[in-house]
C-alpha cells in the first residue's frame, strides 16, 4: 500500500485571490460610482465577508486526506529448460532466483526470474 498526498493548496490560493479581487472591485466601485453610495454599508459588509472567506480559504485549507494506492507487484517465473514464462501476483516468500520446482510445460527446473512493481494507470 502506497500513500500519496494530493496537493490542494494551489487551487485554494487561486480561489483566495479571486475572492480578494472581487472584494477589492466592490470597495473601488463604491468610491467610483455615486449611485452606489446608498448601498455602501451593504457593499462594505459583503466585501468584508468576501475578504474573511478569502483568508479562511487560504489559511484553513491545505492538503486533503492521504489517498492510498494499491501497489501492483508482479512475479515472473521462468523455466531454465524451455524458457516458458509465467506471470502472477507477488506472494509472500517470493524472491528473485528462488527455485520454483518443476516447469508445468516441460518438467524442467523453474525459478523466479523477476519481481517488479508496475505503476497504477493514471485516470
Amino acid at each position: 500500500m502506497k500513500v500519496v498526498m494530493v496537493q490542494k493548496s494551489q487551487r485554494n490560493t487561486i480561489v483566495s485571490i479571486i475572492l480578494t479581487l472581487i472584494a477589492f472591485v466592490l470597495f473601488i466601485s463604491v468610491s467610483l460610482f455615486e449611485e452606489l453610495a446608498d448601498l455602501s454599508m451593504v457593499i462594505m459588509i459583503v466585501g468584508l465577508v468576501l475578504l474573511a472567506a478569502s483568508w479562511g480559504v487560504y489559511f484553513l485549507s491545505g492538503k486533503s486526506a492521504p489517498k492510498e494506492e494499491v501497489e501492483n507487484v508482479i512475479t515472473v517465473i521462468a523455466c531454465r529448460n524451455c524458457g516458458q514464462v509465467e506471470e502472477r501476483s507477488f506472494a509472500p516468500g517470493d524472491y528473485i532466483f528462488k527455485d520454483m520446482g518443476q516447469c508445468k510445460k516441460c518438467s524442467g527446473p523453474s525459478f523466479i526470474k523477476s519481481i517488479y512493481s508496475v505503476s497504477p494507470k493514471k485516470e
Binding site: V3, M5, S31, F59, G62, K63, V73, I115
Partner: protein
C-alpha cells in the same frame, strides 16, 4: 461626508491591522503548515511502530513486552566519532557501526527468536525504517514546539521551507517499511540483482560479513563477482570483501567494476544507466575508503555503473524500469570487460546495495 469618514476609518483600520498583525499573521500561517506536517508525521510514526509490532508479533516468544521493547529500540542512537582530530576517524566510525549492527542483531534475536535468518534480517531493516520515521517526527515536533515557545518567525520559516523534502523523506521511509515487511526486492537492490544475473548457477563462496562471491568466465577473463548474501535485507561489507580479494590476489586485478543505484536529479528518468569512475557505494564511509585505498595501493582502475532512481524508488519495490535497466547493465559490464581488459585478466565486479528479495 459620511462616505469620506467611512473611507478614513477604513484606511486607519487597514493600516492598523497590517502594521500590528502583519508578522503575527505570517507566523500563524507558517505555524499552521508545520502543525499540519507534524500531525501527518505523528500519524506515520504511530502507523510505522504498529506495523513493526504486527510484523514481529508472530515471531516473538510468550510473555515478552514487545510494544515496550520496540518503543525503546526506536529511540536507539549512535554517537558519531569525534572528527576534530580526523586521524583514524573511519576506523572509529566502522567500529561504532559494527557495534550498532551487533546490538540490532542481538535485539532482533531476542524479540523474534522464531524467525529464520532471512526474516531476522528483514526485521532489522523494518526497525531501521521505523526508527527513521520516528526520528524525523521527533525532530520536526521539537522545532515546532521551540518555535511556539520562542514565537520565532525564523524557526517556522526555515522549517516550512524544508518541509516538502522532509515529508518526502518520511513518506519514503514509511513506504519502504511496508515493502520490507513483505520482503519484496527494492530499487537499491539493483547492484545485487546485476551480480546475481552474472553468477546465477555458479558455485558461491562466502567472504567478509554477509558477502558472497563467485568466479565466472566472461570473454576468457576471470571475473570475480560479489554481492550481499540474499534474500534477506542486508548490504554486508563489500569494501572489506574487495580488499580481501585484491590482497589475496596480491593486487593482480585489472579493473574493479562497481554497480549501484544512484539518486536521480529532477528531470532525469528512472532506470537511466550512466557510467563513470570511482567507488560507487553509498555507505557512511568505511567501505568506500577500503575500496579506494586498495585500488590506489595497487593502481587498479575503478569503473562505476549506476542506475538512476528517486529516494522512494530506491527504498520501495523495484520498478519494472529498474529491472529492465539491470539487463542493460549486465550487457554493459560484459562489453566493458571485453573492451578494457585482456584475455586472462582478473576483474572484480561488485554489486552494491541491499539484497532484500534477491537471491543468488
Amino acid at each position: 461626508m459620511t462616505s469620506v469618514l467611512l473611507n478614513i476609518v477604513w484606511m486607519v483600520l487597514f493600516f492598523a491591522v497590517i502594521i500590528t498583525f502583519n508578522q503575527r499573521l505570517q507566523l500563524y500561517s507558517y505555524q499552521r503548515n508545520v502543525e499540519k506536517a507534524v500531525v501527518r508525521l505523528e500519524e506515520l510514526a504511530t502507523k510505522s511502530k504498529e506495523d513493526a509490532i504486527n510484523s514481529i508479533k508472530s515471531f516473538a516468544p510468550e510473555g515478552i513486552d514487545l510494544r515496550g521493547d520496540i518503543s525503546g529500540f526506536l529511540e536507539f542512537f549512535t554517537i558519531e566519532p569525534v572528527s576534530l582530530d580526523p586521524f583514524g576517524v573511519l576506523k572509529r566510525l566502522e567500529h561504532l557501526l559494527d557495534i550498532r549492527r551487533s546490538r540490532s542483531v542481538e535485539f532482533v534475536s531476542r524479540i523474534a527468536p522464531k524467525a529464520t535468518k532471512t526474516e531476522k534480517e528483514n526485521i532489522e531493516v523494518i526497525l531501521e525504517a521505523a526508527t527513521a520515521v520516528n526520528y524525523i517526527y521527533k525532530v520536526v515536533r521539537h522545532f515546532l514546539l521551540l518555535g511556539k515557545k520562542t514565537k520565532s518567525l525564523m524557526i517556522f520559516v526555515q522549517l516550512d521551507m524544508q518541509l516538502p523534502m522532509i515529508m518526502k523523506q518520511a513518506e519514503a521511509y514509511y513506504a519502504a517499511q511496508t515493502t520490507f515487511t513483505a520482503g519484496k526486492p527494492i530499487g537499491d537492490g539493483l547492484g545485487p540483482l546485476v551480480a546475481s544475473k552474472l553468477i546465477f548457477g555458479s558455485p558461491q563462496k562466502r567472504i567478509a560479513e554477509d558477502i558472497i562471491y563467485s568466479e565466472v568466465d566472461i570473454e576468457k577473463r576471470k571475473v570475480i563477482v560479489l554481492k550481499a548474501e540474499g534474500p534477506g535485507g542486508v548490504v554486508g561489507k563489500p569494501g572489506e570483501a574487495v580488499k580481501e580479494l585484491v590482497e589475496g590476489l596480491e593486487g593482480k586485478v585489472s579493473r574493479i567494476i562497481m554497480i549501484d543505484a544512484a539518486s536521480k536529479l529532477e528531470g532525469e528518468n528512472t532506470g537511466e544507466v550512466v557510467e563513470g569512475v570511482g567507488a560507487a557505494i553509498g555507505d557512511p564511509g568505511p567501505e568506500k575508503y577500503k575500496i579506494e585505498e586498495v585500488a590506489v595501493k595497487y593502481k587498479i582502475p575503478i569503473d562505476a555503473i549506476v542506475c538512476k532512481m528517486g529516494l522512494e524508488e530506491a527504498l520501495t519495490t523495484i520498478k519494472k524500469e529498474v529491472v529492465e535497466a539491470s539487463d542493460v547493465i549486465v550487457e554493459r559490464v560484459k562489453k566493458m570487460i571485453s573492451e578494457r581488459t585482456k584475455e586472462g585478466d582478473i576483474v572484480i565486479v561488485a554489486g552494491i546495495g541491499n539484497t532484500m528479495g534477491v537471491g543468488q
